[in-house]
Amino acid sequence: MVIKSSFKMVLWAALLCAAMPAMLSCKEDEKKPEEIKKVIEEEVEEEVKVYDLALQLVYSDTSMLPYAGAPIELRNINGLEGIYQGATDSTGRCVLRVPVGLYEAVTSDVHEDSVYYYICNGINSQIVVEEVGAASFNIDVRVAKLNGRNPLIIKEIYNGGVMKDDGSGNFQFDKSLIIYNNGARPVSMANLCLGMLAAYNAEAITMNNMYSGGRLVFEDERFLPAQNGIWYFPDTLTVEPYSQVVVVVCGAIDNTQTCSNSVNYANRDYYVCYDPDYVTPDVTLPSAVSYNNTKYHPSPADVIPTSHYLKTVKYGQANAWPWSVVSPATILFQTKGMTPKEFAENTGNYWYIPGYAAGPVWRCVKVPYEWVLDGVEVWNAAKIASSQKRMPADIDAGYVPLTNQQGHVLYRNVDKAATEALPENAGKLVYGYALGVGASSDPSGIDAEASMRNGAHIVFQDTNNSTNDFHERQRCSLRGM
């Protein structure tokens, strides 16, 4: 039987040799053993090749310092999936490790410090990571710097009046001002007040008595003298972001029926300075105790709800609030620790213009600096040489000139950098502003009213200097232009 077992082994080897090519030929791309090992090694190397990408945030507002924790989001825009997120260090730099490709980096944040908050948005769509190694790119961040502590500002002042239709003179019973929330958050304020500083006009000779040794006499005591009377919102006022509140000082009716150049104030959203029932505590006659002059303060249009009536505390002598038709210095302030009524009725807070009779005609109340939210100084354009400032430099360092009786208003300039920095304004801003008066115009070139009608959010400039912050505008914005 020996022959029979070796015959079986040769048969199995022959079958195996015959089957081997069949087995081997199933894998068509089957490489050789050396080649198989190389392919496996190459595949493992492609998945882990990343490069350092340093992203530096550069803020458009040079007053803004870089800070740690600004988020950056990086997105590949040429096919690969993946979103990378990182945060900056205290120098505004963030390093990410990413593979080669084309990326877009976006940063969007709101940063706050004690006074301001900064809405930061930046995008760079041209980030290229190549095999050469580490890459470094800047992201230009546009910053909208907004006042977090005092977001309410005076946006527009209309006090000069217009000419009457029959040519008989001027019509100045239609004064108003507009308060604006210059921030991205709603603001609620109680005890919000309006006041006007002594002297009524910047060019008045009364101003000579307000200065001593080249400084305002009250500068050291850090108060501002508000003359004749103040108005205050009776309830807490809430203003939505980038929205305005119109306060009608005189003539809250449809003045255009008589005077076509004037303004129609019969609008349910407007607020009115109307308090004919307030009685001054010290009087010498039974009449003229309150601001009840029906020519200056006619009963407001009945569409305006009584919840929109501002209240007054009158301590001076007048039967209408004598807000200057030429050059008023207006302040917006908030009383703290007491109501406006308690504040202005307290004889201990009275102050009299030096050198003038200590009586109701020259009486002012002392408004502490800390209470003042905003102040605007308007001067008579024809009397600049003889005008003197009523506000110290840290409230308002400049002035804006007005030529009155022509329907002109004082309008705040747009903060070009901040407004353009807001992402929601893209494509909505209207340029080509042409409503300035003479040399006085908005340097930003942005037509704020037209842009707001377009849905833009306007941020106004507030550097506490009305020379730079305001310009003289041909028409009141409430006339629809």
Binding site: I253, Q257, D282, K295, P298, S299, T306, A358
Partner: protein, 987 residues
């Protein structure tokens, strides 16, 4: 009535012993013109002692019978000729006198360009003749005081309506200008019927070209004149034959032309016709702001064939003029103002020379005056909102209604848009007066007695309609007050005066005048009823010496005392109601700007004060005149104390009123277009009605307030004292240069401090829960100086002032050249005034360190440059107004214990406005020089030129009150540089 009986008895006593006159005779003669010896007709010849007079006829002859024997002074005057005074002895040596009168022009000696002191009066009296008036070129008679001693020149223009006021200055209590009487040809010009002022009469509408002379009695006037307290100014117009006189005057702001002639009519009469046109404007660039007067005057004087002699004169003067700005392009669009100042005055005077044992003269005067001071205003108006036009005349609450719906509503809503309003203020003051005067001159031994007695009646009223509007649709807040519905004011007077004169050896004489006057005033319907007062006046003169030797030597002394009562004006006797309106309801304005306001009206009828006494003045006047060699010095001093001058104060009565606002309407559910309102007149509750009928009427909620209604009351203030000295020194003319010097001046002092207690300020706001407020403060002493303003609380309650003025006039008269030049230096050497705060000799105020203080040491006069505060003496609360609580203690207590009360009481404290208010004000000396020249060219032409302040003094004066130096230019102390020219033609 007792007083009237006394007067009658006084007269009878005089007649009881019929003294037989010593045998006298007739005096007759001829009056001729000195140069041509032609007889002069209508010359008046008066024998001063006996009061007998005559008028020359066509042959210049006159004759007076029954002249008592002895020395007599004969005065001959005629228009256009210089007055002649001749001393005669009766019976006459010659059968007929021949009196030559030189023509009054610059060729004669004794030309005076300033006021002449009247030496023959027993009181201080000045005469200003035509030459002085021409030289000064007066336009407005009110400025005649510039020619009195110490007087200051003002630039003449008709645009200012200054009133005449003797021996007093501005800003003084006691209504001095109202108390200065003015008489034109015996007819009083008074301002009693003026509704809006208590000041002297306006003299702007009187012709200044037609005046012959002005006599100013600054001292004690005769009892013949009543209803005054400060002296009288008597104006005489030209009467008599005269050539045609054409005069033109111009200065920087005025043009004046006048023509006058005395025509000789047949049968012994002369008609004087005078026409004048004067126009002044205030701005050379705009001649439309002008005031003009056009005066026509006719006066007849003639003889009346009556026993002893008689003369009649009648006059009629008319003026139309005023102010008209229709053509003024500076007015707004079509607006204009037209103010008329038209006048018609007439008078008749009859003088009869009785020359009987029981009477010498009888004079009858009647006069009337009609004025039209109607002003028309046409003005442009516009409004965007409908304004309430309040016409309510009852007390209560009224709501505004549309004019179309209710044209007679108490409150009408005015229009919106543009329109014109035409209104008038119609004032037509009128008065009528008649008087009878009887005089009896006789000798009682050596004493010459001149007795005068008379009776007067005068009535004045105002026939104007007051303010009224053409179209009631546009009439703003206004209530009708018709002057013609007011009663007339009637004055009756009886008076008697005795003048006794005794000649002494050496040429001296003694004169004593005693007079008594009884004034009765009646206003029908006035709560004051019949008002009667007595004014006694005494004056005397002692001429020590009157010798013609040595160039004339004369020394005389005079002294007098008198009481003058100034009856109140209409403003005080019959004051008009005043209305106060409080806003009570303020609904919102509709779509077409209409707001139906409601007001609470309070009708303030001025309270009748049964204790009101009549204002009177005690005048004391002394003086001395010395003439020695060629020098004449006269000195007179006066002391006037005015009692019970009229003052207006307020009286408070508490009340509550309701306020309703738009808030009450908001929740009603009635649509704005359907809202209709009514208000209850008594309760003030507003009811809202729904015009659609869907909702029933609902009463609106309200808040109640406490307040005070105020009414005006006239009371008497504290006495006011004025005293002073006036002097005139005339030096003899230096013949070589024809220049004479006159130095005159005055010293003047005034002091007026008031001590009356009156309410003034209020403090605090009251509600029904807290009815203590408002409080009322009661203050002692007011500083007000006029009855038009109500006394208010002030730190100063009085004032003292004094001043010394000195004038030097150099007059150069060259008769050969017919030229007069005058240089007048007016200097104010001393001027002091000080506001006072004092009460009953004690301090009235406190000194505070800074203006916010309320406590401090007492004030005394030595304090300088400090703020001073004055507390009210008392205060009262709303709930208990009758209780007066002493202020000072309570105030000090409240500071520590009741902050709320302290806050309100502190509002009643009054403080000086500036620290220098109570400082004495010494003004440094200043002066100004005026120059006038008059030249006659031939017999027919005369030219005058004047320049005021021709050195154009640009110096400085220093005021010690403020310590400031200010320029005298334009300050009002001296007139601005001014000049004028006038030309006179006599044809």
């Amino acid at each position: 009535m007792k007083r009237v009986e006394l007067l009658i008895i006084f007269c009878l006593v005089q007649t009881a012993p019929l003294w037989v006159k010593a045998q006298g005779g007739a005096v007759g003669g001829v009056v001729v013109e000195a140069a041509s010896q032609r007889p002069i007709e209508f010359a008046t010849v008066v024998l001063l002692e006996s009061g007998l007079w005559a008028v020359t006829d066509a042959r210049g002859a006159f004759s007076i019978a029954h002249v008592p024997a002895g020395d007599a002074t004969m005065e001959v005057r005629c228009l256009g000729y210089a007055k002649r005074v001749v001393r005669i002895r009766v019976p006459l040596d010659t059968s007929a006198l021949r009196i030559a009168m030189p023509v009054a022009d610059l060729r004669i000696d004794g030309v005076e360009v300033v006021a002449r002191r009247r030496a023959d009066e027993a009181t201080t009296s000045y005469l200003i003749d035509r030459v002085a008036l021409d030289n000064q070129q007066l336009l407005n008679l009110g400025n005649v005081v510039t020619l009195l001693p110490g007087g200051k020149t003002v630039n003449e223009t008709l645009m200012s309506d200054g009133r005449l006021s003797l021996r007093s200055e501005g800003q003084e209590k006691g209504n001095a200008s109202f108390g200065t009487a003015i008489e034109v040809d015996g007819q009083r010009v008074d301002n009693n019927a003026a509704m809006n002022e208590t000041v002297g009469a306006s003299l702007r509408n009187m012709s200044s070209a037609d005046i012959e002379s002005v006599e100013v009695v600054a001292g004690i006037p005769s009892v013949e004149h009543g209803d005054l307290s400060n002296g009288i100014v008597k104006v005489r117009t030209r009467r008599g034959k005269s050539p045609l006189i054409v005069e033109g005057k111009l200065n920087q702001h005025t043009r004046q032309v006048s023509i006058g002639k005395g025509l000789h009519l047949g049968h012994g009469g002369v008609l004087n016709v005078a026409l004048e046109r004067a126009r002044s404007f205030s701005d050379v660039a705009s001649p439309y702001t002008a005031y003009e007067r056009n005066v026509v005057s006719l006066r007849y004087s003639g003889r009346v064939p009556f026993g002893g002699g008689g003369a009649v004169s009648a006059g009629l003067t008319g003026n139309w003029g005023g102010y008209n700005s229709v053509a003024d392009p500076d007015e707004t669009l079509e607006s204009y103002t037209r103010v008329a100042d038209n006048l018609l005055r007439g008078s008749v005077e009859l003088r009869l020379l009785l020359n009987k044992p029981w009477g010498t003269n009888l004079q009858f005067k009647g006069s009337f005056s009609l004025q039209d001071k109607r002003a028309e205003y046409y003005s442009n108006a516009s409004s965007a909102s409908s304004q309430p036009y309040i016409h309510s005349v009852e007390e209560g609450y009224f709501i505004a209604q549309d004019y179309g719906a209710a044209p007679n509503a108490s409150i009408v809503l005015g229009p919106t848009g543009y329109w014109y309003v035409r209104s008038w203020n119609d004032q037509k003051p009128q008065n009528v007066a008649i008087s009878l005067k009887y005089s009896w001159n006789r000798h009682l031994g050596d004493v010459v007695s001149q007795l005068k007695a008379g009776a007067e009646y005068g009535a004045s009223g105002n026939m104007g309609r007051g303010t009224h509007y053409e179209d009631m649709r546009y009439a703003p807040t206004w209530r009708e007050f018709r002057y013609d519905a007011l009663p007339w004011m009637r004055n009756y007077a009886l008076w008697a005066e005795e003048r006794l004169q005794l000649a002494l050896a050496g040429g001296g004489s003694v004169v004593l005048t005693v007079g008594l006057r009884d004034d009765i005033t009646h206003v029908k319907g006035s709560a004051f009823g019949l008002i009667q007062t007595l004014s006694p006046r005494v004056k005397g003169r002692w001429v020590l010496w009157d010798a013609p030797a040595g160039g004339g030597r004369r020394i005389s002394l005079h002294a007098g005392w008198g009481k003058s009562v100034k009856l109140p004006s209409f403003q005080v006797l019959y004051p008009s109601p005043s209305y106060s309106d409080m806003l009570a309801f303020t609904p919102g304005s509709t779509w077409d700007n209409r707001a139906y306001y409601a007001y609470y009206t309070y009708v303030a009828q001025p309270a009748f004060n049964p204790n009101l006494r009549w204002q009177y003045t005690h005048q004391t006047d002394v003086g001395v005149e010395v003439s020695w060699g060629g020098v004449k010095v006269s000195l007179s001093g006066f002391l006037h104390k005015t009692f019970n001058h009229y003052m207006a104060v307020v009286q408070y009565s508490p009340y509550t009123y309701k306020l309703t606002g738009q808030a009450a309407i908001e929740g009603s559910g009635v649509a704005p277009a359907n809202r209709r309102y009514t208000i209850d007149q008594a309760t003030g509750v507003v009811t809202l009605h729904d015009a659609s009928g869907a909702k029933s009427p609902m009463e609106l909620s309200y808040t109640e307030r406490l307040g005070y209604n105020s009414t005006r009351r006239y009371i008497n203030g504290s006495p006011v004292v004025r005293d002073g000295l006036e002097w005139i020194a005339d030096f003899a003319q230096i013949k070589a240069i024809g220049t004479s010097l006159r130095v005159d001046g005055s010293v003047y002092r005034y002091r007026g401090v008031d001590e009356t207690l009156f309410p003034a300020n209020t403090s605090g706001v009251g509600t029904v829960d807290n009815p203590a407020y408002p409080l009322v403060g009661y203050y002692r002493g007011s500083s007000s100086t006029s009855t038009s303003t109500v006394a208010s609380a002030t730190v100063a309650n009085g004032r003292e002032a004094s001043g010394v003025n000195l004038n030097a006039t150099f007059t150069t008269h060259v008769p050969q050249m017919r030229l007069v030049l005058a240089l007048r230096l007016e200097a104010s050497l001393y001027s002091y005034s000080r506001s006072l705060t004092e009460s009953r000799g004690r301090s009235r105020g406190i000194v505070i360190d800074d203006v916010n203080g309320f406590f401090g040491p007492d004030y005394d006069r030595s304090v300088r440059n400090k703020y001073v505060a004055v507390y009210p003496e008392y205060y009262s609360t709303w709930s208990n107004p009758g209780q007066l609580i002493p202020f000072a203690e309570r105030f000090a207590w409240a500071r520590d214990n009741d902050p709320a009360l302290y806050n309100q009481l502190s509002r009643l404290v009054v403080k000086t406005g500036y620290p220098y208010v109570l400082n004495p004000d010494y003004l440094s000396a200043y002066c100004s020089a005026n120059f006038t020249v008059t030249k006659e060219v031939g017999d027919h032409v005369s030219v005058s030129f004047y320049a005021n302040n021709f050195f154009n003094n640009m110096g400085y004066v220093r005021s010690s009150q403020t310590g400031l130096r200010s320029s005298i230019f334009g300050s009002g102390h001296i007139p601005r540089f001014y000049y004028g020219l006038s030309l006179r033609l006599k044809i």
